[in-house]
C-alpha cells in the first residue's frame, strides 16, 4: 500500500500532471460556481480530452474537476443564494444571510476551509475503509434504501426550523413532480399530460436552475435593493476570520465530514443529502445557538461544506470497490475508467492499486489547490454582493437560462426553468422551503423504485419495514425527527427556567 502511495505521488509530481491538475481544478471551480453547470457536466465534457492520455493523467484531470466543483459551488451559494451545484443548496441557509450582513468574506473563508478539510477527511476515509466498506454497503437492500430516503426527507423538513409542516408539504410536491415521466419498472409514461418533453420526466438541472437561480432573481426584482443589505462592511469582513472559525468549530467540521463520507458511499444518495443531513444534525446538536440557524450562523456554512466535499471520497468507495457509482459525477467518472480499460472492483484494487492512489493524491492536492484559489480571490468575489440588482438580475437570468438549455440542448428546458422559477418565487413569498422540494425531486425515483422492489421481493408485505433491524432503526429515527421541534422547545424552556432560577 505504501509503495502504491509513492507511485501515486510520483505520477502527480511531474510538470504535465500538475498542469492537468490545475486545469482540472480551474474547470471544476468555474463549473461549480456557475449555477446549472456542475461537476457532472464538467467531467462529461472533458471526456473527449482524455482520449490521448495515459490512464493516470485522465484520472488526475478528472480528480481535479471533482475535488474543486463543490468549493466553487459554495461561492455562488454564499454570494448569490444560488447554489452552483445542488449539494451547495444547504450552504445558502446561513451563507447568504452572512453575505447580507456584509460577512461574505468570512463565510467564503469558512466554506472553502471546511471544504478542503472535509475533502481530506473523505479521502483518508476512502483509503481506510475500502477493505470493510463492502460489508456495510451490502447491508442496504431496497427496504433500507426506502427508509433511508424517507428519513432523509423528514430530517430535512425538520431542519427547515419552524416550517416543518410546510417542509413536508413541499417534499410531497417534489415527489409528485418526480413521478412525471417514464416509470422504469412498468414502462408506463405517467402524468406527462401528453407533452413529449415531459415523457422523460422533469429534468433536474433546469428545475434546479429555475427553483434556485431565477426565482431568486425574481424575488430580488420584486424586493429591489442590492444583495448585501450592509454593503459598507464587506471590506471589513476578513477571509481569515472564516478560516479561524473552522478550526474553532472543528467538531462541526468533523461530524459533517463523517456524514459526507458515509452518505457519499451509499449509492444514489449523494452529496445533496449528505450536506442537508449534516446541516440538520448541526441544528439539532446546537439547540441554543448564539446566532439562530438560517440567520447567519457560521456553523451552518461549515457543516454542509465539509460534508459535500467529504462525499467525493465517500462516493468513490463503492465506485472503485464495486463499480457502483455513489453519485452522478462518479457515474461519469466510472465511464472514464472503463474508456481507459480500467475495470473497477477487486481487480482494480489488487492489480491497479497505484492508480487508486494516484486518484487519492490528485483529489487531495486539487481540493487544497481549489481552496487556496478561492481564499486568495474571496475578497474580490465578495465584492460581487455590492453589485446592484439591476445589473445582476438580467445577466444571471440569461446565463442561468443558457445553463438550463445547455445540458440537453432542449429549448423546452428553458420553459421548465421558467415554470420552476415562478413556483420557487411563490415558495419564497409564502415561506415554504424549497430545499425539501429539491431533495424529494432528487430522491423521488430512488424512493419509488426501492418501495416497488421491496413490495415485489416481499409479495406486498408492508411489515417488512418493521422486521429488518436497519429498516426499523431508520423508521425510529424518522419518527423521532418529527417530534424534534417539540423536544427542542422543551429543552429551551428547561434551559430558560434554569437560567431564571440561577439568576434569583
Amino acid at each position: 500500500m505504501f509503495e502504491s502511495l509513492i507511485i501515486g505521488i510520483d505520477n502527480l509530481f511531474s510538470l504535465n500532471s500538475i498542469l492537468l491538475l490545475m486545469a482540472g481544478s480551474a474547470v471544476g471551480l468555474l463549473f461549480g460556481a456557475i449555477p446549472g453547470l456542475g461537476g457532472t457536466t464538467a467531467v462529461a465534457l472533458m471526456i473527449p480530452l482524455t482520449f490521448g492520455m495515459e490512464p493516470f493523467q485522465a484520472i488526475i484531470l478528472m480528480g481535479g474537476i471533482m475535488a474543486a466543483t463543490s468549493t466553487g459551488g459554495s461561492v455562488s451559494a454564499i454570494l448569490l443564494n444560488t447554489p452552483g451545484i445542488a449539494p451547495n443548496a444547504a450552504t445558502t441557509f446561513d451563507g447568504y444571510p452572512l453575505a447580507k450582513q456584509g460577512k461574505a468574506g468570512m463565510a467564503i473563508g469558512a466554506g472553502a476551509t471546511a471544504s478542503a478539510l472535509g475533502g481530506v477527511v473523505g479521502i483518508i476515509s476512502l483509503v481506510a475503509v475500502i477493505p470493510i466498506m463492502k460489508e456495510i454497503v451490502l447491508l442496504f437492500t431496497p427496504p433500507e434504501f426506502f427508509m433511508l430516503a424517507i428519513f432523509g426527507l423528514c430530517a430535512i423538513a425538520v431542519s427547515s426550523g419552524d416550517r416543518l409542516l410546510q417542509g413536508l408539504i413541499t417534499a410531497i410536491i417534489g415527489l409528485v413532480v418526480g413521478f412525471v415521466g417514464l416509470y422504469d419498472i412498468t414502462g408506463t409514461v405517467r402524468y406527462s399530460m401528453g407533452i413529449p418533453l415531459l415523457e422523460d420526466g422533469i429534468k433536474l438541472v433546469p428545475a434546479l436552475i429555475g427553483l434556485f437561480a431565477i426565482s431568486e432573481m425574481i424575488n430580488l426584482a420584486v424586493k429591489g435593493g442590492s444583495i448585501a443589505e450592509d454593503t459598507s462592511s464587506i471590506a471589513i469582513s476578513r477571509v481569515s476570520d472564516g478560516v479561524k472559525q473552522v478550526f474553532k468549530n472543528w467538531s462541526t467540521m468533523l461530524v459533517g465530514s463523517g456524514y459526507g463520507t458515509f452518505i457519499g458511499a451509499v449509492p444514489g444518495v449523494g452529496g445533496t443529502v449528505a450536506a442537508f443531513l449534516s446541516y440538520s444534525t448541526q441544528v439539532q446538536r446546537d439547540p441554543d445557538p448564539d446566532v439562530e440557524y438560517g440567520k447567519g450562523n457560521i456553523k451552518g456554512v461549515i457543516a454542509p461544506e465539509s460534508a459535500n466535499n467529504a462525499k467525493d471520497g465517500g462516493s468513490l468507495i463503492p465506485t472503485l470497490a464495486f463499480g457502483i457509482p455513489g453519485s452522478a459525477e462518479t457515474a461519469v467518472f466510472l465511464g472514464v475508467l472503463i474508456l481507459h480499460g480500467i475495470e473497477p472492483g477487486q481487480k482494480l484494487l489488487v492489480e491497479n492499486e497505484p492508480l487508486v492512489f494516484t486518484l487519492v493524491v490528485a483529489l487531495t492536492v486539487s481540493v487544497i489547490f481549489a481552496t487556496l484559489v478561492v481564499l486568495a480571490l474571496a475578497k474580490y468575489m465578495a465584492m460581487l454582493t455590492m453589485v446592484s440588482v439591476n445589473v445582476l438580475i438580467p445577466t444571471v437570468s440569461v446565463i442561468a437560462l443558457v445553463g438550463a438549455y445547455a445540458l440537453h440542448t432542449e429549448i423546452g428546458d428553458v420553459v421548465i426553468a421558467l415554470i420552476f422559477a415562478i413556483i420557487g418565487y411563490f415558495m419564497i413569498r409564502f415561506n415554504y422551503p424549497r430545499v425539501t422540494f429539491t431533495i424529494a425531486l432528487v430522491l423521488g425515483t430512488l424512493t419509488e423504485l426501492n418501495f416497488d422492489q421491496t413490495m415485489q421481493i416481499h409479495d406486498g408485505d408492508m411489515t417488512v419495514f418493521l422486521t429488518r433491524w436497519l429498516s426499523v432503526t431508520l423508521l425510529i429515527l424518522t419518527v423521532l425527527s418529527l417530534g424534534f421541534p417539540t423536544f427542542r422547545k422543551k429543552v429551551r424552556e428547561r434551559n430558560r427556567r434554569r437560567e431564571a432560577e440561577a439568576s434569583k
Binding site: 410531497i172 420584486v222 439591476n390
Partner: protein, 169 residues
C-alpha cells in the same frame, strides 16, 4: 375566511392551490394501472392531512395554535413576527413575471445570442435607470461571456430561435 386573519389569507389561497393540485393528482393517478399508481397514491393521500393541518395553523383557533406549537415549537403569532415583511404587490410581481416570460419568448423566437444583449440592455436602461453607455457595455459583456464560454470553449450550439429555423436556411 373570517377564521383566518387578513395577513395570512394569501398563504391560505396558496395552500388551497396546492390542495387542488394534489386532489387533481390523485384523480389522475386512478387512470393508471394499480402497479403504476400505488406509491403516487400513498404520497397523495399522505399530503391531504398535512395540508389540512397546515391550513388549521393559519386559523385563529385553539387547535391551530396547538398544531403550530407541536410541529414548529412556535405559535402562529410568533411565526408571523419572524416572517419577511416586505411589501409585495401583485402588480409588481406580475410585471417581473412578464419580463421573464418575454425573455423566454424572445429566446424561443430569436435565440439566445440576439436576445441576451437586448434583454440586459432593456432591463438596465428601463428598470435600473442606468445610462445608455453602461447598459450597452453590460449587455455586450454578457453576450461575449456567453458566446465565448458556451459556443467557443464548450462548443454548444446555442438555440438560434424558431424564426431562424423557419426562415434561416
Amino acid at each position: 375566511m373570517k377564521l383566518i386573519p387578513e395577513h395570512r389569507q394569501p398563504t391560505a389561497w396558496f395552500l388551497l392551490a396546492i390542495l387542488l393540485t394534489i386532489v387533481g393528482f390523485i384523480a389522475v393517478s386512478y387512470t393508471y394501472k394499480p402497479n403504476d399508481r400505488a406509491f403516487p397514491l400513498m404520497v397523495g393521500y399522505t399530503a391531504i392531512p398535512i395540508i389540512l393541518l397546515d391550513f388549521l395553523t393559519l386559523t385563529k383557533t385553539k387547535i391551530g395554535q396547538k398544531i403550530s406549537v407541536f410541529f414548529s415549537a412556535k405559535t402562529p403569532e410568533q411565526i408571523d413576527q419572524d416572517a419577511d415583511t416586505t411589501e409585495r404587490s401583485l402588480g409588481k410581481e406580475m410585471v417581473v413575471f412578464l419580463w421573464m416570460i418575454l425573455l423566454v419568448l424572445g429566446i424561443y423566437l430569436f435565440g439566445f445570442l440576439p436576445i441576451t444583449p437586448v434583454f440586459v440592455f432593456c432591463w438596465m436602461k428601463y428598470r435600473g435607470a442606468y445610462s445608455v453607455r453602461m447598459s450597452l457595455y453590460s449587455a455586450f459583456c454578457t453576450l461575449a461571456f456567453i458566446y465565448i464560454l458556451f459556443e467557443i470553449v464548450l462548443q454548444y450550439e446555442l438555440y438560434a430561435g424558431i424564426l431562424m429555423e423557419i426562415y434561416g436556411s
